[in-house]
């Protein structure tokens, strides 16, 4: 669907080589506005909000930080590893804030599922409802996130 000039510019910033090497859109050929609308609908159908999902991502990150780069157990049945590299990344949506390059890997021992996200993703999900395009290495499918991180209403 057609989108505004602003959305178009944001989508340009998400292409490979602008902020990160592989970009944020993966192999998804749709316009940004359609990606956002579909994921938004998926989250609404689960009766949740983007803020709630981001809050849970933050909670697990903060618990994992104490490991200082090593795997640390987080109750009830999670293992989290948080490590950073130097530098900061801006958000493709513009606006204030640069985000540290922090990688958070959460392993749900009960379900045997693992998911990886970064500080930038927590911002993209919570503030913009953006979960990356399909086919992207860092694609966070909302259903997957909710299941693995065990996010409740």
């Amino acid at each position: 669907m057609k989108q505004t000039v602003q959305m178009q510019e944001i989508q340009e910033k998400m292409k490979p080589g602008i902020i990160t090497r592989d970009g944020f859109l993966g192999t998804d050929r749709r316009n940004l506005v359609d990606i956002l609308m579909e994921d938004d609908a998926a989250v609404k159908r689960m009766d949740l909000t983007h803020e709630r999902i981001a809050a849970r991502m933050t909670e697990l990150r903060d618990a994992g930080k104490r490991g200082l780069g090593n795997v640390i157990k987080v109750p009830p049945h999670f293992e989290v590893r948080v490590d950073s590299v130097r530098g900061k990344l801006p958000s493709p949506f513009g606006g204030p804030g640069v985000f540290p390059k922090t990688n958070i890997t959460v392993r749900n021992l009960r379900l045997g599922r693992e998911i990886t996200y970064t500080d930038l993703h927590i911002h993209l999900v919570g503030k913009h409802g953006f979960y990356e395009g399909k086919g992207s290495n860092f694609r966070l499918d909302p259903g997957d996130l909710v299941l693995t991180l065990e996010i409740e209403k």
Binding site: M1, T4, V5, Q6, M37, E38, A41, K44, R45
Partner: protein
């Protein structure tokens, strides 16, 4: 084709009963793309009102003093479009010079407006309906306001719908067009109240 209709009748008709967007279905693409939030819609709406009024005046003058005397009425399509494009370009330059703040708020909409078919539509209608200068001015102004109102109403409805469970296939353009259709049906109820053609 009665060119002697009162300008205030034309003005109100352009906003309600002959709404350029909901009755004539012109100017749909930016309508669909931008109508997600009321504030952005208000911004675009304002810009459209300004451009629509000014271009209808300019085009009326070009029609009356250049095209008609030279018997060149048939090239009005080209001339109108060229005038609209040049005007929007000029407006963008002036805004950028005069106020950075206004430019940051409105400037991004201006390229979108040039290709808005409602703008050309207004100029063509006023020619077909043989409006006088004053009527054209108020027709342009009224149409702009009508378009802005329609887009803000649509944005309001879509904002309210954010929590609704839209069927997957209809999300986005689908549901928006259905809503536009229902709004058009509602506005049809006004028709016949004022006669402006």
């Amino acid at each position: 084709m009665n060119g002697q209709v009162a300008f205030y009748a034309i003005f109100f008709a352009a906003i309600f009963t002959n709404n350029i967007l909901l009755t004539n279905y012109l100017g749909m693409c930016s309508f669909l793309a931008v109508s997600r939030e009321v504030s952005t819609s208000a911004g675009l709406g304002t810009a459209v009102v300004f451009v629509m009024t000014a271009t209808s005046v300019l085009n009326w003058l070009a029609y009356r003093y250049i095209l008609v005397p030279l018997d060149l009425v048939y090239i009005r399509y080209i001339v109108f479009i060229v005038i609209i494009a040049a005007f929007v370009q000029l407006v963008e330059m002036v805004i950028e010079r005069v106020s950075d703040k206004l430019y940051a708020a409105l400037g991004i909409f201006l390229p979108l407006i040039t290709v808005n078919c409602a703008i050309l539509g207004v100029s063509l209608f006023m020619v077909i309906r043989n409006y006088t200068f004053v009527n054209s001015l108020f027709y342009g102004l009224g149409s702009g306001i009508g378009w802005a109102l329609a887009i803000m109403a649509m944005a309001g409805i879509r904002q309210k719908m954010v929590r609704s469970r839209v069927p997957k296939g209809l999300a986005g353009a689908g549901i928006t067009l259905i809503i536009a259709g229902i709004m058009a049906l509602a506005f049809m109820g006004f028709s016949g109240m004022i006669k402006i053609t």
